[in-house]
């Protein structure tokens, strides 16, 4: 009997040995959003530098910061984070300064350089890499596109039971705020009181509060027709399947999400990390990131236009960006207290 027990052990040990021996010369540890986990994005960099990029996904800046707090210096090399949160994270000492000229932003969409957000006291800590919108995604076949010109349609009763809420508090609270006439920048604890009632009404009118996949499933199968908080990042991957899935920025406006990438303070592979950032912001990296398997999004570097196909650019609505950018507002940037209040409100909404 013992020999029978040892057999799987032997196999396991052999497997362990084989996986370690396969490991590349170097490693780069990146704390990222799920779009960076796409092998199609990482492979060219890994091959060019003979390194292995280890990625760990997180959601929400607070959770990311917790992971950094619990790590030791050198555990992480690269961080992807909400552009609006770069200042907070840098102030907490988790980001290393990016030397002048690490990334050439001359070919960026001017609105997306976001120097204000990516730097603290004149020191740059990160660069923008990708952006998009949290607005309304809907099914053209079931929803009158004209209705989608106003956020108010969601509260009109016409689409009750056919709405899904994207399960991320910042953009959705931002959108509910816009509907109530509050700018994202003005979303403080007092404003949260104001939007509480419309938020609960929205929950009552909606069928589910769901993450990316559940939202996609629900939209694709016709269980819901509208997703508040959705956008091109959600419908683009489904485009081939169901061309009726569309998105728009209503009259009240939409939320602009932008993600930045920076080097984590304490890294022992600073040069490689910078090299990775240069790759991600290069036209090729940008094109791959824009069409990553987890979600699509506009590249911050307009030079990616040369690499992306016309079809891809059409799905991303490359040519409409000027208009969209003009109408979209940045994510709310809550302080710790407001953030807690927002999350409490969100929990209350889920439990209602």
């Amino acid at each position: 009997m013992p020999t029978q027990l040892f057999a799987p052990l032997g196999a396991a040990a052999a497997l362990l040995l084989s996986t370690t021996s396969l490991q590349a010369a170097g490693e780069l540890n990146a704390l990222i959003w799920c779009d960076h986990a796409d092998p199609a994005l990482l492979a060219p960099f890994e091959e060019a530098h003979d390194v292995r990029v280890n990625v760990k996904e997180y959601e929400g800046t607070a959770a990311g910061v917790t992971i950094l707090e619990q790590s030791r210096p050198g555990d992480w090399d690269v961080l992807v984070v909400d552009a609006v949160d770069v200042g907070r994270v840098a102030a907490a000492g988790f980001l290393a300064p990016l030397p002048e000229g690490t990334v050439d932003t001359s070919s960026y969409f001017p609105d997306l350089v976001m120097e204000d957000h990516n730097s603290v006291d004149g020191v740059t800590y990160a660069v923008t890499e990708k952006f998009g919108y949290n607005t309304l995604a809907y099914n053209k076949a079931a929803v009158d596109p004209a209705d989608m010109e106003s956020l108010g349609a969601l509260w009109s009763g016409k689409y009750d039971g056919k709405i899904a809420i994207y399960d991320y508090y910042l953009p959705v609270l931002g959108l509910v705020g816009l509907q109530a006439g509050i700018d994202t920048a003005g979303l403080d604890t007092a404003a949260l009181e104001t939007i509480k009632e419309p938020l609960m009404a929205l929950k009552a009118a909606s069928r589910q509060v769901s993450d990316v996949v559940a939202s996609q499933t629900a939209l694709a199968t016709g269980e819901v027709d509208i997703l508040i908080g959705g956008g091109e990042w959600l419908t683009a991957v489904l485009n081939a399947e169901n061309a009726d899935l569309d998105w728009t920025i209503p009259a009240e406006g939409g939320l602009l999400w932008a993600q930045s990438i920076g080097v984590v303070a304490g890294t022992e592979r600073e040069e490689l990390a910078q090299e990775f950032i240069r790759y991600i912001t290069s036209p090729d990296g940008q094109a791959r990131l824009a069409t990553s398997s987890c979600y699509w999004g506009m590249p911050a570097n307009a030079a990616a236009a040369d690499v992306l196909s016309d079809d891809e650019k059409a799905i991303l609505r490359w040519d409409d960006q000027a208009d969209y950018l003009a109408r979209a507002q940045l994510y709310p940037v809550p302080d710790a207290e407001t953030d807690a209040a927002m999350q409490d409100l969100w929990t209350e909404m889920l439990q209602n």
């Binding site: 799987p8 694709a220 398997s293």
Partner: protein, 261 residues
Amino acid sequence: MRPRLGSPLAWIYLAAMFTFILLPVITLVVFSFQDGRLPVPPFKGATLDWYAKVLSDRAMMEALGNSLLVAALSAFVSLLLGFLAASGLARVLLPGSVLMRGLLIAPMTVSYLIIALGLLQMFNQIGLRPSLLATGIGHVVINLPLCFAIIYAAIGAHQRNALRAARDLGAAEWQVLLYVAAPMLAPSLAAAYFLAFTFSWDEFIIAFLLTRFDVTLPVEIWSMLRSGLSPETNAVGSLVFLVSVLIVVTLELSIFRKARK
């Protein structure tokens, strides 16, 4: 009780329950062949593309290897510790042995989430990074009670006397365990190992909270689920299912059938 092919009600119930039980797996497998982006009806035709995609998915294959590794090793450690503890407690009445048994069994009555959260915090404090090692430690915590209980229950008066006889005939401690206890309890040891392996293989929340890059299969499937709807998820699930069933049927036909004779 003699089998009576009485009322058809029983058979209708049986059929209904089997439908309920098997429906999701059948759906899962059928739509893993879906020739389209969405694994929901209508069925658009069959393709093996998704299987090809899974098998060429580096992260998925590594997760598979990690899962095998963690399951094999953690099940072995659980088995070893459980076996030693069961032989110890079955051998002499130790002071506080009820308490000891209670402590060894206790993790069985605790939600995995709580075990995971506790370990996460403790590992943070002592500076052990989330890793396969951390996950394996957690899996031993949940599987040790299982192995201990199974083996302890298998040691009756007869086994106890045989162990005594072995010591009386001059066997050293390790010889008693290796030459007498282990072979005598082989069916229970095999069952315990098999169960522990399965539990570790399928465990999600501990692995989710206690790994960083080298994740296990359930965690990888979970992140795949969260990053997009795709028949690829069906394909992974079907592969795991078919391979497991194959192993179970093989075991059923070989070892366990033999053991029952």
